[in-house]
Symmetry: C2
Subunit: 275 residues, 2 copies
């Protein structure tokens, strides 16, 4: 299955840490697919090095250097920088099919079965469930689709200012056309949904396969006490911090065990608290 890949994106060193944990979670659960990370120009060299030891491919993406269509779209919508970088995943035409995963997601079991789905498959967004959440989606790389997306983006912008708005407007039959393109919600369980309908989480949550730390506060904004094995700074009530403590702990355990040693080697030294 060397023509299929999981793809993620990091434009900063913080998101790069997320990508590292995601990559290690995919490895831990023995994925048989390739791992690809798109990195923006501001990611530091040692971070790229670590990403390179986890991922099969590290693709530098500098949208400024890209072809005409990107340029044109970017000129019209300078606000959509990261969005354009994410859309770059469609140019990975060395792969026939890919699964994009946000750098703030974490895999809890093997999810290779996602490759049985077709473009564009994604799970519903709990905020407006006729939209899909663009944190996890199945797609088919294609230069043609990429160009169409950029043109669309330049002409229509994004109703939410990010890639989710663009992708939902572009793949606008997702809600009504084909149930097989609805990934079960357990493939993109956003922490926000846990508290909005707790009985459902208790009923179905134990089947979760992918956790998505959606929202302003990310796991790497917390810190971790390696001696005690406890996440610090998780004293806020659920209204303020909607990250589920069990999943947050899982993220940090994987970070401490499988990422920190690599960062230490790359940087010569590092502290456990990040940000």
């Amino acid at each position: 299955m060397s023509d299929q890949a999981f793809v993620t994106l990091a434009t900063t060193d913080s998101y790069a840490k997320g990508a590292m944990v995601l990559g290690q979670s995919l490895r831990k659960h023995n994925t048989t697919r390739k791992l690809v990370v798109l990195v923006g120009p501001h990611v530091a060299e040692p971070c790229r090095e670590v990403l390179g030891s986890i991922f099969d491919e590290v693709c530098s993406v500098d949208v400024m250097d890209s072809g005409d269509a990107v340029h044109l779209a970017l000129m019209k919508r300078p606000d959509l920088g990261v969005t354009f970088t994410k859309l770059h995943c469609w140019t990975l035409t060395q792969y026939s099919k890919c699964v994009f995963m946000d750098a703030d997601t974490l895999v809890l079991s093997n999810v290779d079965e996602l490759f049985e789905r077709e473009e564009l498959s994604a799970a519903p967004d709990p905020g407006w469930p006729d939209c899909f959440n663009s944190g996890v989606f199945v797609f088919s790389p294609s230069k043609e689709t990429h160009e169409k997306l950029l043109t669309f983006c330049g002409e229509n912008g994004s109703f939410d200012g990010g890639d989710q708005g663009v992708l939902n407007s572009f793949f606008n039959t997702w809600a009504t056309a084909d149930i097989s393109k609805h990934l079960p919600f357990i493939y993109n369980l956003s922490s926000i949904a846990i508290y909005s309908y707790l009985p459902a989480f208790k009923q179905y949550g134990h089947n979760a396969k992918v956790v998505h730390f959606l929202g302003k506060v990310k796991p790497w904004n917390h810190s971790y006490d390696i001696q005690k094995g406890e996440v610090r700074g998780h004293s806020q009530p659920p209204e303020l911090c909607q990250l589920h403590p069990d999943y947050l702990l899982l993220w940090w355990q994987l970070y401490a065990k499988s990422v920190v040693p690599l960062l230490q080697r790359a940087y010569g030294e590092t502290s456990l608290s990040s940000g």
Copy 2:
């Protein structure tokens, strides 16, 4: 279309007011279907009278008086009183197809096209979007289904303590089997979704056909200044009161215009603030 009906439920005088507004909103938008309300034993006589002038049928439902299956199920799950009353809608076998609507919903346009759908069609719940919200659903009355539901209920209870848990466990292929059974979210727009993903509401909200005042605070818990045409007690921030002010005003306008005169006639007098 006299063999098809909209059905709602009220077990208290407060919910009865909701049912009245819902009924009037369906009439206002010229539904060609019958209107049926199930009323519990505690609804006051004048309220029944008003319901009788809006709805084609007012069905008294006293689950205590019902047949063996209900009794048996109720003995095992005394907590599910209102749920059993709601499930009673399946006994309306004088109709071939029905649309159930919670008494806290409001129709913004004609929605008769819902009868093109089959059992069990419903819109996703924003809290856990692989569950449907049971505030609006299409069903086919059937004594057999009713008995099965009761047995299921008695044996398994409800994971959320209400009808939504039971119905989702019973119709458990909704999320994965048939996209035509996914009603667009605009047929059951819960106020809660407005604030959780505001850009989507701005993009798609103007198409809303049914508003659902889901949650603890209902329109009738507010009060209305008929002189000023303003809803009072809506000074809470959106974290505390998630009812959208425009929809709340719409509810009260319809209540003041089309329900209050009927209540005045039935009671001899009434005040505009309810509760």
